[in-house]
């Protein structure tokens, strides 16, 4: 049973031409896939559909073996799928790093102490403990990116969706990111324009062209 399955997705933003025109994709446990395609082809749109931030006009989204349709169906999906957004500033909204990382676990109903323990745990794992008490908007671009990854990983997702994670990363931080991602057990769906990064993290790919996905190997 695939973890994620999109079948025959059709979608148009209001007042625009259709952007997805029968796109299908499936991701198995432990599998790592990239999605290729030019800017504005609908790659981010596709990821947003998986977590229910956008609803397809037609077609089926099924995650963890169940068809997801209503907003309520996606609550469970969002707990189990980790989404790393393109712009870290969209994701880090809490004043401090520790609070931002704790946001997810607290939403999952963890107590304050449990959440703090998880925060310290994930920071230690990613070697980011020195950032714990920093104010999020004063982090550098690279630090922000690594912290967004921590905010998502702390929820122990089964799948990771990564939207342009190398945006605004210098080489050193990109190297860190590759190292961290390679060491993770999760299945991943990656959008990246960086061929070297793709080759190292998720070499198999789908290409999105004219609203349709085709497998490329």
């Amino acid at each position: 049973m695939p973890l994620l399955e999109l079948s025959d997705i059709k979608f148009a933003y209001p007042g625009h031409d259709p952007i997805l025109n029968g796109a299908s994709l499936s991701l198995e446990a432990g599998e790592r896939l990239s999605i290729l395609g030019p800017n504005g082809a609908g790659k981010s749109t596709l990821l947003k559909m998986i977590v229910g931030l956008l609803k397809p006009d037609a077609g089926q989204v099924s995650v963890f073996g169940e068809t997801r349709d209503q907003e309520a169906d996606f609550h469970d999906v969002r707990r189990r799928v980790g989404f790393v957004f393109q712009d870290p500033d969209d994701q880090l909204f809490s004043p401090t790093v520790a609070e931002d990382i704790a946001f997810g676990p607290l939403n999952l109903g963890k107590s304050r102490d449990e959440a703090l323990a998880l925060v310290d745990n994930i920071l230690a794992k990613l070697a980011l403990t020195h950032l714990r008490d920093r104010i999020t908007h004063r982090l550098s671009g690279g630090e922000k990116r690594l912290v967004t990854l921590a905010t998502v990983l702390v929820m122990e997702p089964e799948v990771l969706l990564l939207d342009e994670p190398t945006n605004a990363l210098d080489e050193e931080n990109e190297e860190r990111l590759v190292e961290i991602l390679s060491g993770l057990p999760q299945a991943m769906l990656l959008i990246s324009h960086d061929p070297k990064f793709r080759a190292r993290v998720a070499p198999s790919a789908y290409r999105l062209r004219a609203g349709v996905l085709t497998r490329e190997d």
Binding site: K48, V51, L53, H75, R78, R79, V81, G82, F83, F85, D87, D89, D90, Q91, F93, S94, P95, T96, A98, E99, A102, F103, G104, L106, N107, L108, R112, A115, L116, R132, D133, R134, I135, T136, H137, R138, T151, V152, M155
Partner: protein
């Protein structure tokens, strides 16, 4: 700039003595907000010159402890004075009483002069005390403090989001302004300038709206259901109580000086 804000009275206990420079920053923000409020209320109700002078003196004592840059803080205080300077200048002439001197037929009175001095002392003592106690706080620590003091959650969250995103918005503004500049835009008094600034403000609003939607999306992805939990738990420590005791004594002293004639 970056002070240990989580340490604001809770987790880490540093060994710095109460009187070291910038040591107010290590004290419990809740306590500082409450003390500042009480101090301000007492100061504005004083009318005795000795008491007001003493209050101003106390505020000056706090200044080196607050860790604020002394010169810039005093400049800000003078900035506030410029708002009330006209009131101060006009008071001696508008209050009738024993004449001191006459300017163009207007008589200045001692009573008016005293009132002007009283207002100047009150305003400066209050503003300096507030700047030292609350103004020295990291905005984030203040948010946490207000939350712990049961200020409505929505107000605190509004403040926190503002703190978080004001810099992002400023950067966006600077980028757009730079982009305008490199295409030869020089603001002047003409329609082109007004229209361009209109577009600038418009696009910033649109982008802020879109960003807020992306943030909400990101929050939903992490299981947000509409309730925030702030992590900070403050605990009053010995040095906080010491500070409360000292400021308490100072405030009592102010009241005693004010009332000394009434008591005697």
């Amino acid at each position: 700039m970056s002070q240990p804000l989580l340490a604001a009275g809770s987790e880490k206990s540093t060994s710095d003595s109460l009187l070291s420079r910038g040591s107010l920053a290590a004290l419990d923000p809740r306590m500082r907000i409450v003390v500042a409020a009480i101090y301000a209320i007492v100061v504005v109700s004083l009318s005795d010159f000795a008491a007001l002078g003493l209050a101003l003196g106390f505020a000056f004592c706090l200044l080196p402890l607050s860790g604020l840059p002394i010169k810039r803080t005093l400049k800000r205080m003078i900035g506030m004075d410029s708002f009330i300077i006209f009131t101060l200048l006009i008071l001696p002439f508008s209050v009738p009483g024993t004449p001191i001197f006459t300017v163009w037929g207007f008589v200045a009175s001692y009573e008016g002069l005293w009132q002007a001095i009283e207002i100047a002392l009150t305003a400066n003592a209050a503003i300096l005390g507030l700047m030292c106690l609350v103004g020295s706080m990291e905005p984030v620590a203040m948010g946490h403090g207000l939350h712990a003091l049961r200020v409505p959650e929505r107000l605190v969250q509004l403040m926190m989001f503002t703190i978080r995103y004001i810099e992002v918005l400023r950067e966006e503004y600077m980028r757009l302004r730079a982009a305008m500049k490199v295409r030869g835009f020089r603001p002047g008094t003409n329609w082109h300038t007004y229209r361009s600034f209109g577009y600038l403000v418009g696009i910033m609003l649109v982008r802020a709206l879109e960003r807020s939607e992306r943030i909400l999306g990101a929050m939903k992805c992490r299981g947000f259901t509409g309730r925030f939990v702030l992590l900070e738990r403050f605990k009053m420590q010995k040095r906080d109580w010491t500070f409360v005791a000292l400021t308490g004594l100072a405030i009592l002293a102010l009241i005693a000086v004010e009332l000394r004639h009434a008591i005697a």
